[in-house]
Amino acid sequence: MIPKGNIYDLEAEVIYKDLCCYCGACGAFCKEYICYECEKPTTTEKCYELHGACYDFCPRTFFPILELDKKIFGAVREDKALGCYKEIVTAKAKDSEIGEKSQDGGIVTALLTFALDKNVIDSAVVSKTSESETWTPEAIVATSKDEILSGAGSKYTLSPTLMGVREAFDGGYKNVALVGVPCQIQAMTNIQNSKNFDVGGDRVNLKIGLMCTESFDREALIAKLSENKVKLEDVTKFDISKGKFYAYTKNGEVTIPIKEMKSCMREGCRVCFDFAAEFGDISVGSIGSESGWSTVIVRTEAAKKLMDDAKKAGVIEVKEMSDDAVEPLRKLATRKKTENLGNILGKIDEVRLLNLAVSGEDLKTLLI
C-alpha cells in the first residue's frame, strides 16, 4: 500500500529526522507553500491538503525500488550493486572544449549538446555554480551548448534541482533532460510514476544520473577547507579520486583523505541506498575508467540509441569495459549500500515479519 501524507507528515518523517536530500521535489510543484532555507524545505503558510504531492514525490518518504525496476526495466535487477542496465562502457567527448571544461570524459555535456542538436531534447536542467554565492549550485534550464557548458564539472554540494524541472515545464519545454545525483533521479522517477499526481513528468525524456557516494554540507565543507587553509572562493575545481578529495586552486591542489570528509557529509546522505543513479537512463561516473574518460552505465533503450548515434556522429569515443574494470565500481556501490543499510536499520522502529517483532538493529543481526 502506498502511504499518503501531507507537508506536516513530510516534516515529521523526513525533514525533522534529517533524512531530507534537498532534491527540490516537494517544492517543485508547490511553489505556493514550500520554499527552501538553509538547504531544507520550509513552509511559507499553512497548507490544508490531506494528501500532498510533496509527500508523494519525496524519495525519502517512499521509494518502491524493486517495483520500479519491474515497471521501468521490465525485470528486477540481477546486479544488486548497480541496478538494471544494458551495458557498461567507458567513453569520452571528442570536442576538446568540452573535455577541458568538464569533469573526467565530459560525456554528460557531450551527450546533452548532441541531444539538443538532434532535437531529442529541447532543454536540459543542469546545475551551475551560482553567480552570487561561490560553489553553490543552482538549477538552470539550459537550451544552448554554452549554457550546458556552464553546468559542467562536479559540485559536491546540492541544490533543489527538481525546481529546475518545474521551470522547464513552465517555460513550455516538452522534451527535457535532467542531470542529477541519485536522489534527484529517484525524485524524478517518483514524480513520473506517481499514482496520485500527474504533473506531466513524462516531458522529462532523458535522465542522466551522476554516480555519488555522498554530498557535502556547504558550511561543513567551508570549515573543512578552512582547516586546510583553503578558501572556498579560491577553489577552481573539486574532484574525488582514489579515496581522496581534491580541491584545486590557482596555487595548486589540496588533498584530503575521503574518510576525513565523512564529517562534512549531509545527514540525509547516510540513508541513501543508491550509488550508481540506478533509475537514470544513463549513469555517469569515473570509477573504473582511465583519467580523462567517464564510466557510463547505459540502462534504457533510448539511452542506448543516444549513445550509438553520438558515437556514429563522432561526438564521443566509446570503449568496452572489462569485468575487472567494472569491479571497483561494483565494490564501491556495494560498500555504500552496506554502510547505509546499517544506518537505515538503525533509524527504523520495530518491524513485524509475520510473527517476528524485531527492532531495526536486531533485524541487522538476524539478516546480515
Binding site: D9, E13, L50, F197
Partner: protein, 79 residues
C-alpha cells in the same frame, strides 16, 4: 501520518461544506460518536476544523479559506 478516521472526517467535511454535529458525522462515516469527537478535537488543534458546543450538540465546521486554491491539488489524478 494522518489516520484513516481523520482522513474520512476531513474528506466528508470537504464534500459536505456545511456545519455538522458530531453525531451526524459519525453516522455518515460509520464511526462512533466518541471516536469522531477525539479526532475532531485533534483536527481542530491543527486548525483544520472548528468545533463549538451549541446547546447539547457539538457543531463541527470547516473554514472556506482552508481550501488550497493553488498548491498541488491541480495535479491530482481523478479517482
Amino acid at each position: 501520518m494522518m489516520s484513516s478516521t481523520k482522513e474520512k472526517i476531513m474528506t466528508f467535511m470537504c464534500e459536505e461544506r456545511e456545519p455538522m454535529t458530531i453525531g451526524e458525522i459519525g453516522d455518515k462515516i460509520g464511526v462512533s460518536w466518541a471516536t469522531v469527537k477525539t479526532n475532531v478535537l485533534e483536527l481542530s488543534q491543527d486548525k483544520m476544523l472548528n468545533i463549538k458546543k451549541v446547546g447539547k450538540n457539538w457543531i463541527v465546521w470547516r473554514d472556506e479559506q482552508n481550501e488550497s486554491p493553488k498548491g498541488c491539488s491541480a495535479y491530482k489524478r481523478s479517482e
